[in-house]
Symmetry: D3
């Protein structure tokens, strides 16, 4: 049986339950999903500064997950904080949410757009597309101008997402949409319906929860993991 650890890289228990429910819903039947959050770090991730503060504890948690026998780890943030370093530390597969979502979206249509929270993260997400190798498929990154901690107002969120997604289709040429924050849970389905009503064609909305699990469990089904040629073990040395 697979045991997956989902690390929410922020210092609040606010999202734990919903995250557990959402990940369990897309996981393969029989998967055990365990959710945890940080004790040191930011209340939400909306900048490189937040990512830098969250990363040290993320790395400790990933290391310990491997020792405890977890099959794999999801770092549940669209900015993929700490994923590169975490992959250096362990052999079990580790994924974030941003890169897997973009790679899946790249296979579902001609071009995709990401809609995220604040303007602050737009260049950060564009850089993830570059490093994932799919920048040629990226139509745009847009934001709804709502901070992570205000995403709880689902109706307001859906309205704002639909507005930006419609612009992404009409002006930026997007054919696939990606929810650009892991806090945007439970809205993909109704956005798909609203977009189809508007454009008269089915327009997929990729949910990072589903995309990160598909990437992780795809690796697990093949008994494989990230390459240790890319993510070599850190050399032994003093670290204070």
């Amino acid at each position: 049986m697979q045991r997956i650890l989902v690390i929410i890289p922020i210092v609040t228990a606010l999202f734990d339950e919903e995250v557990a429910r959402e990940f369990s819903a897309v996981a393969r039947p029989g998967t055990e999903v365990e959710v945890t959050h940080l004790t040191r770090g930011p209340a939400s991730i909306e900048s490189s500064y937040d990512e830098a503060l969250a990363t040290p504890e993320i790395l400790e948690r990933v290391k310990s997950a491997e020792e405890q026998g977890f099959s794999g780890v999801v770092i549940d943030c669209f900015g993929d904080p700490g994923v590169r370093a975490a992959r250096e530390l362990v052999r079990i597969p580790v994924v974030g949410a941003g890169s897997p979502s973009m790679l899946l979206a790249a296979g579902m249509g001609h071009r995709f757009s990401v809609v995220s929270v604040l303007q602050n993260v737009v260049p950060i997400l564009e850089d993830i597309a570059k490093l994932s190798g799919v920048e040629d498929k990226l139509a745009s990154v847009r934001s709804v101008n709502i901070p992570v901690l205000d995403l709880g107002d689902r109706q307001g969120l859906e309205g704002a997402l639909l507005r930006e997604m419609a612009i992404a289709v009409e002006e930026d040429g997007a054919h696939v949409l990606v929810l650009g924050c892991t806090g945007m849970m439970g809205v993909a389905g109704s956005l798909q319906r609203a977009l189809e009503a508007r454009f008269g064609h089915f327009v997929p909305v990729v949910d990072p929860v589903g995309a990160s699990m598909a990437h992780l469990q795809g690796m697990l089904a093949m008994n494989t993991s990230h390459s240790k040629l890319t993510y070599m073990d850190p050399p032994q040395k003093k670290r204070a």
Copy 2:
């Protein structure tokens, strides 16, 4: 319960059983996998000519799969023959094996190489990387110089694959390897072991069977499908 149709786009029943076994092994528990092959087309696919001959019946089968209530379709060939046209015809998700394998590989390391059957298909697979948007992550496409119908000699195949994969790592800078033909079944695991023994680091080998199922079942888990903005329904007209 999900029902997946796997279409082997060649006119032989030779691979049916093994394909069914391999796909079932990586599918989510509870998935019903049905395998079929063509009655008109080539004995194997090793050229654009073969792809062109196989495509008309592939399209009929995909159309009929949707009518029969299948949840999704895998066109089980690394060259993705007919995938674009098939996606125009139906709303259920359709995947090939090449593009999903490359997109998954792109997320597993810095650069990947594909090792396929004959030199004939090398430019075809490089073009798939371009159209999938991941050409910047493609280190090389190599071939073992063994026709599809001779892949049954597993020992010879593994030796040839290992030789080309080692060159891909050493000369082309590959960090992830991809099996470039869906006829190369059941060899990924032992190749991973051999590569790790040789290079002293874990080097993943992506099996197109697992990658295509991960891509397809990822879409299904999210209740989504390919974009009908990219793959619009073909206009009504006379077709003789």
Copy 3:
């Protein structure tokens, strides 16, 4: 003396005469142009599905053209259906209309836009630009929203083309325009005049008829053809 076969890959004789006239007008003096159309396939090509249905007979015709001593073949459709497979089958040069038009346009100015028939083909033509290597020179692909079989209304067509071409220049930064359907015959000259009147600078309009002949007859003048390293002969095998 050169004998060129022009294959109109649709099941109607409607365009035969005009196509013969247009190709003869741009061919080198002394060229014998023969035009033919299909007996099996779609009434027009506006999707990958149409291309897939047309391709098998295209390939038979190209093969037979070589046997009958034709010097070269034009597959007269902007989507280049069957060109890749046809080049595998024969040694005489084969060209479509899309790729040669884009390559010629790339040499005539900083960036070009293609204006085609329906929105359905836009991603298909963008993919041709990618595979031809000139996507960096592509400003946009636009459509006039007129099906192929309605292109007979030349006045309506010219008006719609001019509108889209003007937007391509003003909003997309196009400096060269390309007619994105081989059914758009006989309109390039008057569009060039209208665009020059509008923008105060000469703006070229590439006609796919002229571009495909220039590419084909360029190869013939040099006694050369497409590379058989790229388009290797399909291996011998059973094809049902």
Copy 4:
């Protein structure tokens, strides 16, 4: 009847006759080809310095060609010296030899290599590929290490070209070869035969003479020319 001026941008009459013969051989029947060379400039072009010295008189000649009623102009050098500025000055089509050769080669196979004279020009020709938009199709630029003025030894030249072309195929992955200097006349045919003998597949060799004429006469057949949006008329002002 078309009158084409071919400007050899060097201060010697050495090549005039052969150039006239070669261009006439590939021109459309009935074309009048006139060849001229410079009175001020370098003895050959093998550096940006040489190009800079040749350009002022090239521009005068192109301007005067338009006034004298020529239909179009070829600047007969693979480095395309002065082409950009010349296109600003006139409305009749002007082509060099490098960019048209690369664009034609891009349409003939998966990837091409250029083989030129000295190492000095390699980065210059790579830059032409970039500006022509086909750098993704460029496998390599190689040199035979023979100065332009020693190209008269045809046997030595053919041997050196064959050696470099074979390396381009085997090591750089070239499928199409391009002669990278307009002084390499009359050798393409026998190189094609030698390459086919060596590789067992037809490997095309693009001759810049044929390619530049195909590009120029393609534009002329369509009554079109380079875009004056890209190559705007230089503003009126004092020029000393």
Copy 5:
């Protein structure tokens, strides 16, 4: 002590004093800046034609600067006229203004836009971005539609620059702005203030004077220069 020669590649003394003052202001303390202009060439540079006319004397001046013991040379024009050829002729470092400005801007933010004088030079500057390798960081090139010789009206210039820069930020996604003509002196500071007032965030404006000196003096501080593998000495030969 460093002696830098600044060549203004136009036939007027109009800018000499201001250029000397501006370059001295950004040079390292103790640098001796000498400014000169041409006796043969255009009154301003606004086309490839102007560049071609200016280049021969630029090359003589650069050659002579090296002989006179100058430490390095700035060719003070955003189009970098003659830089490539000049670097072939000498070993002391030579820079233009365009490429150094773009490279510096690429390091200061996510994407930059250049605002230059006339529409004529837009494709020329886009080509410089391509050849400098930073086209992926280029958001757009815009023009204020003011000829070089009218740049003296500083108030009008600043207003026009601010308008185009605001559009570059809002519509093209620029985060850094670059003054695209070396005649736009002394306005960067007030534009930075105006942009910050407008957007509420600091938006840098790169002045080509400062950027070219930083690039040149950076090389000098490291006792290095441009690569003679890229810019090989021109072969000895007759040049008339």
Copy 6:
């Protein structure tokens, strides 16, 4: 007078003196260079894990440098750890060593290679080239296989660097070389001499010390800094 803080992001005072000497040597006359190192973090930086551990204290130091009135900050490591987050926190210019070195190298020749310490960092440095926008100018990243803390053996280091640099020139096509670790101080000059002796042409070696200072002091000379549109202030929130 400018005061520059150089942060060596490792927990040892070993390099402080030499770093101070090297930076002072390339700084503008009159610059006050202050060097510091960390109290928490790794002994050297050779992995993403090391970067993650070093970053939190780097950010505190940068923030405090701005408060103390420093003019600008160099984070003295080729991997640019914390640069993105640091730029979010402050308004004074902050640079690392990797991106400025690559941007300067891109302006000095056709293609550059980086030679760094261990194979572990090769993909990390290739990603910096991508995010800096100059990957098209990057010939290769190579390593000498010497850990940072063993770089003290200057003779061994120079020999190993020369070997890898020669391969970069001969096999990868590099025209400019970049020292890929800030611990490789004081060797650029003699490497330039050795490379020129070997290749018969001047081949520049970029020292990251000089390149980072040129980038930083270039910004300071222009009274500018990094864009706050790219590096927006982190939103106010709880950070534990």
